[in-house]
Amino acid sequence: MSMAKKSIKGVTIYDPDKAFEGYTLIAPQGGYNVWLVNMEGEIVYHWPFKYQPGLFARLLPNGNLLYQGLEEKHPQGPLIVVRDASGKVIMRWASGGDEYLFEMDPGYNIVWEYRDLLLNHDFYPQKNGNIMLTKYTLVPEKIKEKIKGGIEVPKDAPMWCDKLEEIDREGNVVWEWFSYDHMDFDLDRIHPLIHRYEWTHMNTCSIMPNGDVLGAFRTQDLIFIIDKETKKVKWRYGQGDGELSQPHEPTPLKNGNILVLDNGEYRRYSTKYSWSRVVEIDPKTNKIVWEYKEDPPFLFFSGNQCGCQRLANGNTLITESLSGRIFEVNKSGEKVWEYLSPFYGTHAGQKANPIIYRAYRYGENYSGIKKLNLDPHRYRWVNAIYGQNALQGKVIERRDKP
């Protein structure tokens, strides 16, 4: 165990004048809990669950929590086990996902439940109550032959790709979309360093203000917009030289731009080291209008997962998943808040890790927050262990000053 890397926990940076005041929702992958922490890193609300998080949670405007669940020891997404001639397992492949979707009210009652073993990464609640879901689906055999790239795998191995399903609260499918109907076999190859167990890897389905779907294919270095009516892909970005590599969570912004976390695993021309960044793209010109990179760049890197959220004051909340680090930067790239997750736990057969897939910040005036009775005192015993911050009261002192 590295003492140097594991000793500092909780809030490490906090500038109350510049940060976007609110509460941060986290669902640590190793555990059965979803936590809401305040700017000082204290726990102010907690949801206990029977299942581990598939990936993350969202707080709805009515104060309910929408949460992905995964039964213990179940793989994340469909599992492919490859054995050699003697029957020895040489590879276990699973690409991330979950099996339940729950809605829990502030009184801890589960008010809605949905189950499908093929649930993929993302779920996006819409105003009319419907939910857009990403799901795994098999690539039809005829199409499989046409797909280029990737590392060869045993011939009889399945190849997965994605479908989108919009469901109503009775579970009826009201709209669906299959990736193999709309993607380009020449452009959308599998990355040369990724196995052919999966073609497209859809980790996001954000809904645009006009109802179109904004998605990301990690293994194709691509983010794209699907026209909700025609189902056609009407905008693509990321595959140009040096644009994106293995991106996550493209998000539509109020100004019409798109924010995306560019993970940077397998980034071309980054021969010396890997680095992640967050970019804001103008989809009309395909130009990058804002970028955040750490200095030195290799100190902000997570090869997979991660999320980004534009906050109401113009700041950006970033989740660096693998290290369990959540931080907020302002327009000029200054770090104004940083939190290192103290929650190490085991998940899906893995060893204890601090992974957080996506965190979300909710402002004090968000209607969902107002529905909750936030009280750090109620969680004082948990806070004694997990609620300490590395600032040792420095921020509180500063706040008291006129």
Binding site: M1, S2, M3, A4, K5, K6, S7, I8, T12, I13, S95, G96, I151, P192, L193, I194, H195, E265, Y266, R267, R268, Y269, T271, K272, Y273, S274, D295, P296, P297, F298, L299, S302, G303, N304, L322, S323, R325, E338, L340, Y344, Q350, K351, A352, N353, P354, I355, A390
Partner: protein
């Protein structure tokens, strides 16, 4: 900056399990080389005339050998660009030097006193055209560079030479798909094996190879589809091979991580490895540089360069000593960082340390080592399940005194 995220200086120091001695390290972008004691106390500092090309090593004859970086070299932006290798004494006086603008990465001092070095050299077009892989069209000004390995004597004469492009296979040893075609091979470590043959790590083709010193042929190569963008392939005392697999751009890996591998030289089978098993491989990863050293007590000293972290692990993977470099320096696109390029541990009885009076070695070896031995015995007893002898207050006082004396001595 990572000051907010990690502790700096010594964070673990279980001296009764660690290999006691002094640690030599170099900070990227700084002209200082430091020798620290087990408690982090700086015992000696060299101020050198050049930035590090990569690292420094202390030789048994009490000279420090150091690869320097010439900032005006034509390939100065290549990773590991050097240009000069110098030997200096404890006071920093130059005793030896070898200059060549194309020298890169490290060096290896051979048993016969000669030095093995790595140099970049242009690959003839008719060969480079046939090399597969890499990002198409990304040669450096239309040129692909290869490696020359040279054995040079004290006066700089070339005793032996090997050219990589004459022996590597343009098809089989293809360049990694995500990197530039400005180098083929990308040697980053060279080591003289016990039988006189040469062990080389080629980063850009994810391969380590043994070159027959007599015939120049590649006797053995390994790594493709197994390791990715590795560093520091060395042979250890028992004949086995140790290599640091950085894990940069690894195949089908969802989250990249680094590890140390030990190979049985005869069977070429992996017999030991270290990675951060406690935390799902998350807390040990460096894309670049980094090093490993097998210590006489069986422990392994590891450098995780990108975090400036030097740590020692036992056979079972327990961290018994850990240090994070508190010095920051600026260098090229590595920004202002505490990157440590490589580190070496020298035991208190290492001949190369004898000439330095500041270290107070004589005193320490006699009395203080006994304390360490006692503590070790105590721990072993505990492991065997025997009840631990409870210390009386007198004995406790005595132990505290000895421990504080140890601290004063730099332990």
């Amino acid at each position: 900056m990572i000051k907010e995220r990690v502790l700096e200086g010594i964070t673990v120091n279980k001296i009764w399990k660690a290999y006691n001695g002094f640690t030599l390290y170099t900070t990227l972008g700084s002209k200082k080389v430091k020798l620290i004691a087990m408690n982090g106390k700086i015992m000696h500092e060299w101020n050198l005339p050049y930035l590090p090309g990569l690292y420094a090593e202390l030789l048994p004859n009490e000279n420090l050998i150091y690869s320097g970086h010439l900032e005006d070299g034509s390939l100065a932006d290549f990773e590991g660009a050097g240009g000069i290798i110098i030997g200096v004494d404890w006071q920093g006086n130059k005793v030896w030097e070898h200059k060549d603008p194309y020298i890169h990465h490290g060096f290896h001092r051979m048993k016969n006193g000669n030095t093995l070095i790595m140099k970049w050299n242009k690959i003839p077009k008719e060969i480079s055209e046939k090399v597969k892989g890499g990002i198409p069209g990304s040669e450096k000004d239309d040129v692909m560079w290869g490696d020359i390995i040279q054995e040079i004597d004290k006066s700089g004469n070339i005793i032996w030479e090997w050219k990589s492009w004459k022996h590597l296979d343009a098809k089989k040893n293809s360049i990694w798909p995500t990197v530039e075609r400005d180098q083929w091979g990308g040697a980053n470590s060279v080591y003289e094996m016990q039988d006189g043959n040469i062990l080389i790590s080629f980063r850009r083709i994810c391969t380590i190879a043994i070159i027959n010193k007599k015939t120049g042929k590649i006797d053995w190569q390994w790594g493709l589809h197994e390791i990715s963008n590795q560093n520091c392939a060395i042979q250890i005392e028992n004949g086995n091979i140790l290599v640091l697999d950085n894990g940069f751009h690894g195949e089908g890996i969802h989250h990249p991580f680094s590890r140390i591998l030990e190979f049985d030289f005869n069977t070429k089978k992996m017999i030991w490895d270290y990675r951060d098993r406690d935390n799902d491989n998350i807390n040990f990863f460096s894309d670049f540089m980094s090093s490993c050293q097998r210590l006489p007590n069986g422990n392994t000293l590891i450098v995780e360069s990108s975090w400036g972290r030097i740590f020692e692990v036992t056979k079972s993977g327990e961290i018994v000593w850990e240090f994070v470099n508190p010095d920051y320096a600026k260098f090229q696109d590595y920004g202002t960082s505490n990157v440590v390029t490589r580190a070496f541990r020298y035991g208190v009885d290492y001949p190369g340390l004898k000439g330095n009076k500041e270290l107070g070695l004589g005193k320490m070896i006699q009395t203080e080592m006994d304390v360490i031995a006692n503590k070790k015995a105590q721990e072993e007893q505990e492991e065997q399940g025997e009840s631990r002898k409870t210390l009386g207050s007198k004995e406790k006082d005595e132990q505290a005194k000895v421990m504080s004396r140890l601290e004063n001595l730099g332990y």
